[in-house]
Each structure stands twice: as structure tokens, then as C-alpha cells.
Subunit: 151 residues, 2 copies
Amino acid sequence: MSRAPSKHSELTPGELAVRAGVAVSALHFYEREGLIESRRTAGNQRRYHRDVLRRVAFIRVSQSLGISLARIREALDGLPDNRVATKADWARLSAHWRSDLDARIDQLERLRDQLDGCIGCGCLSLKSCALYNPQDELSANGPGPRRLVRS
Amino acid sequence: MSRAPSKHSELTPGELAVRAGVAVSALHFYEREGLIESRRTAGNQRRYHRDVLRRVAFIRVSQSLGISLARIREALDGLPDNRVATKADWARLSAHWRSDLDARIDQLERLRDQLDGCIGCGCLSLKSCALYNPQDELSANGPGPRRLVRS
DNA sequence: AGTTGACCTCAAGCGTACTTGAGGTTGTGG
DNA sequence: CCACAACCTCAAGTACGCTTGAGGTCAACT
């Protein structure tokens, strides 16, 4: 039989995982990466404050917007750690993504429109095509996987 | 002194790399992945047909649209290999991305609008928030890096 | 002929975001 | 008190899109 959900206001790893819709391994990972915190019981098991549920929700939502964990961590670092985050705190963070999202949509729309222009000419000829040579707006790459659209 | 650019209509790896704006190692990679081809000289060095320049351009543009190499390869497989690709061929491929792009823009706009709604409430409370529980539209993950927004 | 830069292959590494597995511990219901 | 689920740690694996490095070859110019 499975252990009953503890009556405490704290959440066990399993509970948090189910309620946040992520794997326990992901919680471990988020903790290692400094995105969430936990307290330990005498037996070294994790217990999460209920607020962590909201934190994880924020992480998942932000990821679905295409934002990297690094940027999410930065955002979360902006939350007060002396008190529990308020609605206003969360709203502030969400609003921050808004401009991000707008920029990303703009970029995609510009690309789409340029692509429309190019469909007619079949160019991609490196010289005349606005789509090629995206250096100006889209470069800044470096090693690792390309994230041109994401983040 | 650097070797003069060969007068032939074929391109050396270095020439192609410079003109396409990618590293030689990337060309090797694309070839291993079946995205481009090359002929070999007697001395086992690569020579690229000029068309490969356009191919690489297409790859880069497509990547900037957030499309994975796997999907790009599929698209390129749609080109005729008995003759040199025409403008119409390239236009057909580009047009294919268009619907992709539209879908992605739509998705981002929906997310943005929902985010707007959520900024007021500061919710992300798992129950009432439309942003959370994106399972319906955004899941289908599995192992590996998340690609929710891309591709 | 020798120098030198461009080229070759193959293996390993990197960053992101996790998962999987091995091997061991904790803690609750029966 | 003991079984057994849930927990723990640490190392390694996965997918993508490349880059980097080692160790060696090729070819143009002088």
C-alpha cells in the first residue's frame, strides 16, 4: 500500500511531483540548479514548503514559453526570500516574460513575412535575400546548441 | 600565403564555409547527417558543387525559423536528386515552413494572451490557471531536451 | 625540396534539461 | 517487527548541434 499523504502542510517529494506534474528526478535537478529549495527530515528526506508548488508551476509555465532554466532562475532570484512571495510578486515576474514573448513573436512575424517575399523568388542566394545573412538580428551563437528562436 | 580560390566551379571546404557563414566542422557534420554531399579529389579532399551553397543557406535559414535538422533533412530529401534544384523547388520548400511558422506564432500569441490574463491574478495555482497544465497543447516530451516551442 | 596552410579522420567534449540505474536507507501500515 | 514503498546519492546516459583536439596527409608557393 502506498503511504498516506502526510497531514503536514509540507509536501513530500512524491506529492510535489504528482501535484506539479514533474518527475521526482526533475525536482532533484531543479534543486541542484538552485531553482527550488527543500528542508530535510532527520532521516535526510526532503520536505517542501507549499510555496514550492507555485515555484515549480512558474518554472513549467516559463519553460513552455521557451525560456531557459538559467533565465528562470534569474527571475526567481528576484523573489524575496525573507517572506513568502505574494501574488504581486508573481505577477511582476510574469509581466517580465510578456515583453520577451512580444519580441519573440515580432521576430517570427518578420521572418514569416520575409519568407513570403522569398517564396516568390526562390532565392536564398546569399546576396539579395533578406532571410539569409541573419547575422544582424539573429546571431550571437557560440558553441552548444543553437537557441535562435528560444529564449 | 593562403591558397588561391580555385578557378573551378566547385568549392573547397574553406570557401564554402566562408561563403555560407558556417564552420568547416559544421559542413562535416551536415554531411555525416546526410544534409549535404561532396565529391572527393584524388587526395581525399572534399569538393562541393555550387548548389551546396544554396542548400546550406536553406539549412541556416530554416534553423533560424526554429526547425530541427531532422525536419530540414526531410525537406531536403524532397528535392530532386537527378537534376539541379530549381527556384520553384526551393520556393516549394520555403512555402512548407510557412504553415509551420504560422502555427508557432499562433501558439505564442495564445500563450501571451493567457499570460496577460494571469498577470492580473498572479495565480499559477494549478487549478484555475489556463497557463498551467499545458498538457493538451504542449506536452509530448520524452527524454532529451525540451522543444516545446521549437519545431 | 621544403614550408605551410588547408585538409583528412576519429574520438571526445560541451551545454541544456533531464532520466535511468545501481546500491543503499527511511519510515509507515499491518 | 518486518515488509515494502518511497526515499537517498552518485555516476552515467540521452538527444541535439555542433566544436575541439590529436595525429597525420595534401598541395600550392618559393
